[in-house]
Amino acid sequence: MNSSLDTFPRLLLEHARVRGDRPATREKDLGIWQTWTWAAVAADVRALACGLAAEGFRRGMHLAIIGDNRPRLYWSMIAAQALGGVPVPMYQDAPAAEFAYVLNDAEIAYAVVEDQEQVDKMLESRPAVPSLAHIFYDDARGLRNYEGVTALDVLMEKGRAFDRAHPGFFDTEVAKGRAEDVSVMLYTSGTTGKPKGVRQTHRAFIVAAQGGVEFDHLVADDSMLSYLPMAWVGDHLFSYAQWLVAGFTINCPESGDTVMTDLREIGPTYYFAPPRVFENLLTQVMIRMDDASSIKRWLFAHFTGVARRVGSDLLDGKPVNAIDRAHYALGNVMIYGPLRNVLGMSRIRVAYTAGAAIGPDLFRFYRSIGINLKQLYGSTETCAYVCLQPDGGVKFDTVGIAAPRVELRIAADGEVLVRGPMLLKEYYKRADATAESIDADGYFHTGDAGFVDNAGQLKIIDRARDVGKLASGAIFAPNYIENKLKFFPHVKEAVVFGNGRDAVCAFINIDLGSVGNWAERRGIAYSGYTDLAAKPEVYKLIGECIEKVNAELAGEGALGASQVRRFLVLHKELDPDDDELTRTRKVRRSFIAEKYAVLIDALYSGKTSQHIRTQMRFEDGRSGMVAADLHIDDARTFAAGAAQKAA
Amino acid sequence: MSFFFEVLIGGLLSGVMYSLVALGFVLIYKASGVFNFAQGAMVFFAALTYVGLLEHGLSPWLAAPATLAIMVVLGLAIERVVLRPLVNQPQITLFMATIGLTFFLEGLAQIVWGANVRGLDLGLQDEPMQWLADSTGINVSKFDLVAAGVAAFMVTLLALFFNRTRIGRALRAVADDHQAALAVGIPLQQIWGIVWGVAGFVALVAGLLWGARNGVQYALTFVALKALPVLILGGFESIPGAIVGGLIIGASEKLAEVYLGPFVGGGIEGWFPYVLALLFLLVRPEGLFGEKIIRRI
């Protein structure tokens, strides 16, 4: 790591120096892509920093960042860092109540938020957060008559004045920064218990970022669409750390509901999306193709077939015979090229997905039409990644090889251990947690169970904590099974139980879009999710999915014992607002187990139906009760090793 | 002085014949809101068909009803093939369609019956009536008088048809408001069919008169163009308007030709009616009998 460029503010100034007139940030605003050069960004950051300083923001203080991906929110992070402060990005869609905890935990006194909506939430949580004194907002819409909140424009004006009054202040502050300083505090979504603040240093994130930049040869000409929550480590790595390390361009969409359009316009070369995004995209593609003319449908079916056969091989540079190459080339003109175009992925060089396991078919589909989609594995504590899939070495069921400067080790109990410069410095005010997650040798305990396959690639089975044993003593990895289930477009969420029990049973959430469409095409009328979920046809459909999974499991030795014996389709969608999922849509297993205890009992007591009433919160924030009689079905299972025959 | 009256009367008489053609327009416009530019073509078609049939040896007493039948069928066909598919389209579209129709009919007629000019003898001499000439010294063509008589008869007939008969009233209802008409159970399609049929009949009579007067030829279609200023004057929806408008146009264009023509080198019949109508419009945009429209918003 270049010693003079060991903090983000310094990286920014460097870019402003060497490529001052190149685009650093774009935002779709007022109908066009407003562009800021590196020089412009540097100037604004300077103003912001000086403004904050003038407002009394000091070294070591925390700056809350709340809102959609907006340029000036990113810049505020650099500004805070320039003053030796620590930005604390938070999930913008959380309700005020959830804010209060983090705001207090991080002793937030200064907050930069996007708009009226966020300001309102801040003001709402203020009574609970005595420390919160200064609130700055980016978008002044509707805020003219608010008391005690300041517009960023005003702040920056102040800053410029302050800068004129104290020339050199900014530069000396930046000069004070050290690589070991904490650069950011990211709160883990916390599948269990309260969220913890993960403190990362400049070094950690810069090293991590550089690793990825080398690994995928990212350059200043690349461009990225920044649309994922700023509080999420992935976004902080891709559209902040790597942005400042590689010096490429980040693009902020116009609004949440225009992301797909904006993606099409920008056509990024470097792209990240969680599996569910790719999944939704594919579902949409399939749904739209259903209405296409028969010729088009035929072309689509034919050429995607060809792609499935040779597409990924071509992408991996494996040998493919001339005829297939020609055939694929034709398909590229007829289908793949146009498809990439309508998806906005024509220019993608590198695309990553992570956060959850991705369906093999899904994964193969994107690769087969020529999109270099890869998987990575990591966590907030490791600056987003531990393993990356190298070009040409991509498998759907692994998460790739150890990233540069990462030491990987598998513990005796199968837990994945990591060591390297990208590890977290500490959990904020949680020495205990820090101690238990980093052992004496400096290895971080990821909490995931997995193994390294013969190709040297890591394969994650499940959360180590969740890996349990069936009554029979056979290993039981719920997430592993759930993911297999979720690979089916019809299955949105799945929760399986079996730890310490004699068999595995499952809750299923159907995908309303996909199953709904399926139902319509079969003329099955339904009034809504609950109604659709209860249809016998749907149970049959899901039953078939489970049967396939069982067949696979049967073929996977030890896991063969954990085939799903019985299942039910839940009467409501699992929802973060009901605390059943985390904000990153991971299932809160234990919580669900309590909430739906009756259903679990029913599953194991062999009942064929069970009545249940559940509290749920609606879109508009009101909450009410849903009641239903849930039917329970048995699934076909297979003798271990019988997989091939059955599947 | 007597010469003046002679011109005036001549003009008025031919004016009646304009009214006759104009009536065709009014009829269809009233009932279906279609500005039927093809009316002239229908006149031409009718005349050509009639003489065509005569040439093929039919006796006038057979040819007339035969032509009538053909015209009615034609009218119905037009309604069915051209206008029904275009129902609820903006008026302008329908207007364009009828222009297309004009071309089609002209082409069709001449392909079937040939394009050469024919005379048509209805057994009326286009000669002045002696007794009138003797008594007043004003020459009025017998033909003109009879023709005018027939036209007048037609006009009154239609007027009665519109105002007295059930169908006529239905037509008016339709003209005022299609939806309402439908609501009270008036069969639109059928009504329109009738209207086009009647329009065909009117075209036939006009065709015979004009054909007998100027000879049956392509030029007949221009008679329709003459009827347009009449419509502007009288308003598209008013039968009396068509009549009065016709008289005014007929008289004024003759007078203009005779008294203005010489100073500007003649041939002003072609445009004078238009300019007259235009000037008139500037004064009274809603026409002679059209009621004033207050545009509410």
Binding site: L30, G31, I32, T258, T261 | I294, I297
Partner: protein, 265 residues
């Protein structure tokens, strides 16, 4: 949130109608109407159907010409002004039944609201260089601000014909706003809207009034809305003014209750 929330200070009369009488061929639509509108206020006109509310707006923005009475706008009395002159004086409006330009996109519709701000000659526009282009760009920027303000980015390039009713109403408001009027006339802006749309529209009306300090005269049937957002209310019945005052005063006004509230509720 009420219209009273600070920020804008209500000023003196910007528009005054004095003894306005309008009739269509003998039929009296308005008789001796007089009232004033103060700067920055939201002034509501209410009344049963056919009370002459729309006619009154049409008189104010010069579509109808009253037989009697004077209209004073910004201190100067108007005489037989045409609608476009009125527009040039900074009065814009929306219509009861949407009057958008069906053949054009949302963007173009709103751009037409800027026509008074564009001065390039036809020839300049034909060549599309220099002033013509510059004006086009500058005004587009302003229009985009309005689009942003009314949150209709996602339909920017859609032909207005394809939009649902509620959005069309919003686009029409946008077109009026694009003219940067000092007086905005809204003819039943919330007619035929569902609750959500009404809430949005209310918010927008208030925001406009607040953000740009635009004086607003609106006709509305929804009593709740009127009483909520307007500073003062005029009540018409059979073309005559039967009440004038703050919402509270109107609530208490016996004549109004008899003539209107009574029957309406």
């Amino acid at each position: 949130m009420t219209a009273m929330s600070g920020g804008r200070s209500i000023g003196g009369a910007i528009l005054a109608l004095d003894n306005i009488t309008l009739s269509f061929g003998g039929v009296k639509a308005l008789t001796g109407i007089s009232f004033d509108v103060r700067e920055h206020e939201i002034r509501a006109i209410i009344g049963p159907n056919g009370a002459g509310k729309s006619s009154l707006l049409n008189v104010i923005n010069g579509v109808y010409h009253p037989q009697q009475g004077t209209i004073t706008f910004r201190g100067e009395a108007r005489h037989g002004m045409n609608a476009h002159d009125v527009a040039a004086h900074g009065i814009a409006r929306t219509f009861q039944n949407i009057a958008l330009f069906k053949g054009m996109s949302v963007l173009d519709n709103i751009m037409t609201g800027r026509n008074l701000k564009m001065h390039a000659s036809v020839i300049e526009q034909a060549i599309y260089l220099g002033r013509a282009r510059r004006e086009e760009m500058e005004n587009r920027a302003m229009v985009e601000a309005v689009i942003d303000f009314l949150e209709i980015q996602h339909i920017r390039k859609t032909p207005v014909g394809r939009l649902p009713y509620g959005l069309q109403k919003r686009v029409e408001l946008a077109r009026a706003l694009a003219a940067e009027p000092s007086l905005l006339l809204l003819d039943e802006p919330m007619a035929g809207m569902n609750v959500e749309e009404k809430q949005d529209m209310c918010r927008f009306v208030l925001d406009v009034n607040e953000q740009y300090g635009t004086t607003i005269v609106l006709i509305e049937h929804d009593m709740g809305v009127v009483m909520d957002i307007s500073d003062r209310v005029v009540v018409l019945d059979y073309g005559k003014k039967i009440g004038d005052g703050t919402p509270d005063e109107i609530r208490g006004n016996q004549a109004v209750i008899d003539a209107y509230l009574g029957v309406a509720h």
